[in-house]
């Protein structure tokens, strides 16, 4: 069962139970909806940018532990970051969850490194990246629906 503990690390379970920055962000902000049609995960991400910096990012929705924890930890990681740094982190996250099992994870991922376990569960990669894709859409100010398919 070690694989399972690799995926469901304590931090992930904690964020699943008590998601941070969960709820609706009052305007001004931009938002986007994300949807994983395979399992029905739904998420809405709100983001407020002030002077090129992410001042606040929040989310709402329903989904599995992986998608909820990923969204919650994403909001923690991005608060206060510049939009450029956020884009870099997004790239790093994508690379991490889709890389080979034994590829090393860079320090810049910080706490997000717990999601490296997702690599061993191909069916769950989309759960982990849904929040990030949705955030990208919100940053673009796009109001259209994002889909993982």
């Amino acid at each position: 069962m070690s694989d399972l503990r690799e995926l469901y690390q304590e931090v992930i379970l904690d964020h699943n139970r008590r998601p941070r920055n969960f709820g609706e962000l009052e305007p001004p902000c931009s938002e986007a909806d994300g949807h994983n049609p395979l399992c029905g995960d739904q998420i809405r991400v709100y983001v407020r940018i002030v002077d090129g910096k992410i001042e606040k990012v929040m989310f709402q929705g329903s989904g599995c532990a992986i998608s909820k924890a990923s969204a919650s930890m994403m909001t923690d990681a991005l608060t206060g970051k510049s939009v450029q740094d956020a884009a870099k982190l997004f790239e790093g996250f994508q690379a991490m969850v889709t890389s080979d099992m034994d590829a090393t994870v860079g320090d810049e991922m910080g706490k997000l490194a717990v999601f490296a376990g997702v690599r061993e569960f191909p069916a769950r990669i989309k759960c982990a990246s849904l929040a990030w894709h949705t955030l990208q859409a919100a940053l673009k100010g796009a109001h259209e629906m994002v889909s993982t398919e």
Binding site: L4, L7, Y8, L13, R17, C39, G40, Q42, C64, A65
Partner: protein
């Protein structure tokens, strides 16, 4: 059941003995497959059934030694292929209690329903007409009706179901009006396992002059289907849920209705003559079978039907009922778990929800233990909405499953509780 009966000691399982079940499992090669380093525990037959070796052999033999197209050549091989294909049609028709001349080969249930919507539906529906469905329908028995409703100005209406997961017959009857032209509902719910009172519903619809389509996708695996007894006008099935190949299925269409239906797809094999001035079409099922069909699929399906006929269907049904009852009982031991619906007649499937873990996470924990279940909305989003859930976990059983596999499921669910607290 009377009280006296209920208090009698439980009878020995009327189903299969250990030895019989082991022998039956040996007929299905996937029953000895491994996944994630564990023996496969396949509790997902409602999605698709595993295949008996005799079905695989029949399709392989056809490709290796008998392959030719049908309804084409004058040479013997093609004639032989045509004979096998038409014998398969007769077998499928027989399995449905239908006539050979009212059994159309299609890709599956989904295509069968689309065929009825686009051929029959589109030619009879007018603005203001109503198509009555139920809240427990699969998307494939909803979307084709929405498409034809858009094309014709008809309206799609859904009859409600009860908290137990049964059709609310009073509402169903009330929603049948002079405007109702088509009524379409499932024989067995793929989420709840509910067996609908098909004949009663069909009679209600017929009294209003509506035509009835029954989605038999789930029923064909568990029940003895007889379309004449059900009195329906259309019945749709998929071979892959009937231990046959994927990519083929059948539509039963009552002969008197079938004869009046316009073609669905145009092409070869469905025409009498083609001229740029206009073409004429064949009668009967052939009119709806344009193009080269899934020949090996039909032959393989016939072999799985032959296989099923070697089994004692009554004892198989008792075995399945035992498994499902056992699953239902043992699920009630698991903390944080709620079973969806409590229909008085249930076959095949049971869906549940855990308050501490999303169905997707439950699915992953079980998968690590070699257990295959379905986690998601099961192509039944309106039903999920009815129960206020985003998704459920569904365990489904077929004739080859055993109590040990239910035990494995329960152990897995206890682990879910350990991980998610």
């Amino acid at each position: 059941m009377s009280v006296a009966q209920a208090t009698r000691p439980p009878k020995a399982p009327a189903g299969l003995t250990h030895a019989e079940l082991n022998a039956l499992r040996a007929d299905f090669p996937m029953m000895s497959a491994q996944t994630n380093g564990r023996p496969l525990v396949y509790l997902d037959s409602a999605v698709t059934a595993q295949k008996p070796q005799v079905m695989i052999d029949a399709a392989t033999r056809f490709y290796e030694r008998e392959y030719a197209s049908v309804h084409r050549g004058v040479y013997s091989l093609s004639q032989h292929a045509t004979d096998l294909f038409e014998q398969a049609r007769a077998k499928v028709a027989d399995a449905l209690g239908a006539g050979k001349d009212e059994t159309i080969f299609v890709r599956g249930t989904t295509e069968a329903i689309n065929l009825v919507a686009q051929s029959y539906g589109r030619s009879v529906l007018k603005a203001g007409d109503e198509i009555l469905l139920t809240q427990m329908e699969h998307h494939s028995n909803i979307v084709p009706w929405q498409l034809v409703a858009e094309q014709t100005g008809a309206r799609v209406i859904a009859a409600p179901i009860t908290d137990d997961g049964e059709i609310d017959l009073d509402s169903f009857e009330r929603l049948l009006t002079g405007r109702t032209r088509i009524v379409a509902f499932t024989h067995v719910s793929n989420v709840l396992g509910t067996v609908n009172p098909v004949r009663q519903m069909t009679r209600m619809a017929h009294r209003r002059g509506a035509v009835v389509l029954v989605d038999g996708a789930q029923a064909i695996q568990h029940l003895n289907v007889d379309v004449k007894e059900l009195e329906c006008d259309f019945y749709a099935v998929s071979a892959h849920k009937h231990f046959g190949p994927a990519g083929i299925g059948a539509l039963y269409a009552r002969r008197s209705i079938l004869d009046a239906m316009p073609p669905y797809h145009g092409g070869g094999a469905m025409i009498r003559s083609v001229d740029f001035g206009g073409s004429t079409y064949l009668d009967g099922p052939a009119r709806f079978e344009a193009g080269t069909p899934h020949i090996a699929g039909a032959i393989g399906w016939a072999a799985s039907i032959d296989y099923l006929e070697t089994l004692d269907r009554q004892r198989i049904a008792a075995h399945e009922a035992d498994l499902l009852g056992y699953a239902r009982d043992r699920l009630s031991e698991v903390e944080n778990l709620r079973v969806l619906g409590n229909p008085s007649e249930r076959v095949g499937a049971v869906s549940f929800f855990m308050s501490n873990a999303h169905p997707h996470d439950v699915g992953t924990v079980l998968d690590q233990r070699g257990i295959a279940v379905r986690a998601g909305h099961h192509c039944c989003q309106p039903l999920m909405k009815r129960f206020g859930l985003p998704a459920t976990v569904r365990a489904s059983v077929a004739l080859y499953n055993m109590r040990d596999e239910i035990d494995a499921l329960i152990d897995g669910l206890h682990e879910v509780n350990e991980v998610f607290g």
